[in-house]
Amino acid sequence: MAEPFTILTSLPMPLIRDNIDTDQIIPSREMKSTGKTGLTDGLFAGWRYTEIGGREPNPDFVMNDRAFADSRIILGGTNFGCGSSREHAVWALAEYGFRAIIAPSFAPIFAGNCVRNGILPVILAPEAIAIIEKSAAPVTIDLEAETVSLAGGENWAFPIEDEAKSMLLEGLDAIDLSLKMSEEIATWQDADRAARPWIYLGANA
């Protein structure tokens, strides 16, 4: 279960490239952990270090710029998170501390994985993202109001599906939401067990 997402203010880290895929977010050679944690070293490893498999920081990569050490928000390009459905990409981002990504569009599976792991995918027009980048100032994301704003007064609305919104706001994950329907599930299964007893293997064991 993720921490509820209400209002977040942070200096965003600009990584405005189109089609950043999950292999760039975490290369498969860096997926060494059997769990969802222990992945932060692999985050953006191909860009972040001077050589493949190495750990020498590449000074030219934005993640190694001390100014963004505490960033909780990434500014991205179109089709963010495309490529394979590997959830490790989102786990690595979440473990590192990112809570929101602002981009003109997201790969659908990646966006779903973000919501499931407490990261808010914010869709804004490229012009708005350019203004935010240029301002080099903290932005505030208000999930309840569905807005992104700069201290100077600029303000943009972003779209988000109801279910994703309530999951993030309450820090609920999809499992919590579905477990609230335990009764319906049990009723359905009771009827189904009578109709298709062979599906319920435990009963025959």
């Binding site: 498969s28 579905s178 319920y200 435990g202």
Partner: protein, 464 residues
């Protein structure tokens, strides 16, 4: 049948627990299969959140992805850290009360090969696994598809998934396949004609004379690559071949349950007037043996064809071919027979029948990996292992093996491999390895010649 329901509607409707406001439905999940690459992560995350697997009897786990396929294998693997994946999955499965087909279990094998062998997948069931080729099992008239880790956790904890209903598509293969042409060539033809994104957002029913004519193993090969077509899943209406295959398998219903199940399975088909969001028709008698030329499975041509004139530069550069070049005759370094696409007994029988005493060309590294321990035993009982070995192939223990590269064993850097697998992505089978996907027959013909070859040329002279 009258009405206008599709098979997909029937599979979907029969699993709707409740509709969700504005976002699809809560769908009941009948079977869950885990493997050691992601199983531990999903089970441990559940346990850490204090949640239980709702019905462990309907969850299974297997070691197939990382486990070595060399003889005498143990938990040690060539993949760095691989042992931890195996051991943690084993421990987590045990703690959750889940049946696991472990490293040297007689039922071990690639998840999508053993699930049907054991009768775990059944017509009309929903089956998920955190693995994109779960659609293979749609061959049994099941709704089977690959999910992410969190969804696997969700299904284990609740017995359901929250899903938006995909659109429906029917792909009809009319007519009959010619000799030397296989189900692999059918799916590669679909990919070549409609592209690797052609099935995006759709659940795909495969139908038509050529599909009905396939045996169950061929149907699995066809459904296996529905994910390469970007479909949510692929499936085929069950028929007597399906029922005959399943009857008597360990987890299939028996006795009165079997009779009741059969009755319910007979209605699993699309109505004559069923309405699909999209329909495609392909003449099976016009299909030829196919070989991929590029770095996605849609970049595929007939083995007697040439690399397209409008081929993109990047895949060409990677694969080291030129526009207009004939694919036949391109020298290969290696050959691979295996994977959840083409590693079943019928695949190995057809492939081994191609040798007729011939050996593979000098300098070719050739490997055959049976899809399950049971396939391996049956093949050995028929002497198929000796045919492969005498021809110069390595004969392995079952598993995913060199279908994918996870940092362990692989083909040499930059080598060119003709392979019965399903993905020709960059570095899929090892750093810079160039993969050409094809049928088992085409792989053997090419291994013998040392160059990409048309299996029909070998068959012409003899009665194979």
């Amino acid at each position: 049948m009258t009405g206008n329901k599709t098979l997909f509607d029937r599979l979907w409707d029969s699993h709707v627990v409740t509709d969700l406001t504005g976002s699809g439905a809560l769908i009941a999940i009948d079977r869950i299969f885990l493997h050691e690459r992601t199983g531990a992560a999903a089970l441990n995350a559940l346990a850490e959140a204090g949640r239980k697997v709702a019905d462990p009897a309907r969850v299974f786990a297997v070691t197939d992805h990382i486990v070595d396929t060399l003889p005498g294998r143990t938990d040690q693997t060539l993949m760095p850290g691989g042992q931890a994946f195996i051991q943690e999955t084993r421990a987590a499965a045990k703690a959750a009360g889940i049946t696991m087909f472990d490293v040297n279990d007689p039922d071990q094998g690639i998840v999508h090969v053993i699930s049907p062998e054991l009768g775990i997948v059944l017509p009309g069931c929903t089956l998920i696994a955190p693995d994109s080729h779960t659609c293979t099992q749609g061959a049994f008239g099941a709704l089977a598809w690959g999910v992410g880790s969190s969804e696997a956790e969700h299904a284990m904890a609740t017995g359901t998934l929250r899903l938006a209903k995909p659109k429906s598509m029917r792909v009809k293969f009319t007519g009959r396949l010619n000799r030397g042409v296989t189900p692999k060539d059918m799916i590669l033809t679909l990919l070549a004609q409609y592209g690797a994104a052609g099935g995006k957002g759709h659940a795909v029913e495969f139908a038509g004379e050529a599909v009905s004519a396939l045996d169950m193993e061929g149907r699995m090969t066809l459904c296996n690559m529905a994910t390469e077509f970007s479909a949510m899943s692929g499936f085929i209406a069950p028929d007597n071949k399906t029922f005959d295959y399943l009857e008597g398998r360990r987890y299939a219903p028996a006795g009165a349950d079997w009779q009741q199940a059969l009755a319910s399975w007979l209605v699993l088909r699309s109505d004559t007037n069923a309405i699909f969001d999209q329909e495609i028709e392909i003449d099976a008698s016009a299909i030829v043996p196919m070989v991929s030329w590029g770095t996605n499975p849609g970049q595929t041509i007939g083995v007697d064809g040439v690399v397209p004139d409008d081929a993109e530069a990047a895949p060409l550069e990677y694969i080291g071919l030129a526009r207009g070049q004939t694919i036949k005759g391109v020298p290969i370094d290696a050959a691979f027979i295996g994977s959840c696409t083409n590693s079943r007994l019928s695949d190995l029988r057809r492939a081994s029948a191609m040798f007729q005493g011939r050996k593979i060309a000098d300098g070719i590294k050739a490997i055959c990996v049976p899809g399950s321990s049971s396939v391996k035993r049956e093949a050995e009982a028929e002497g198929i292992d000796l045919i492969f070995k005498n021809a110069g192939f390595e004969w392995r223990e079952s598993g995913c093996s060199m279908c994918f590269y996870a940092g362990g064993e692989s083909f040499p850097d930059g080598s060119r491999v003709i392979s019965t697998t399903n993905r020709n992505f960059e570095s899929r089978q090892g750093p810079n390895v160039r993969t050409h996907i094809a049928s088992p027959e085409t792989v053997v013909a090419s291994a013998i010649a040392g160059v990409i070859s048309d299996p029909r040329d070998l068959m012409k002279s003899e009665l194979i």
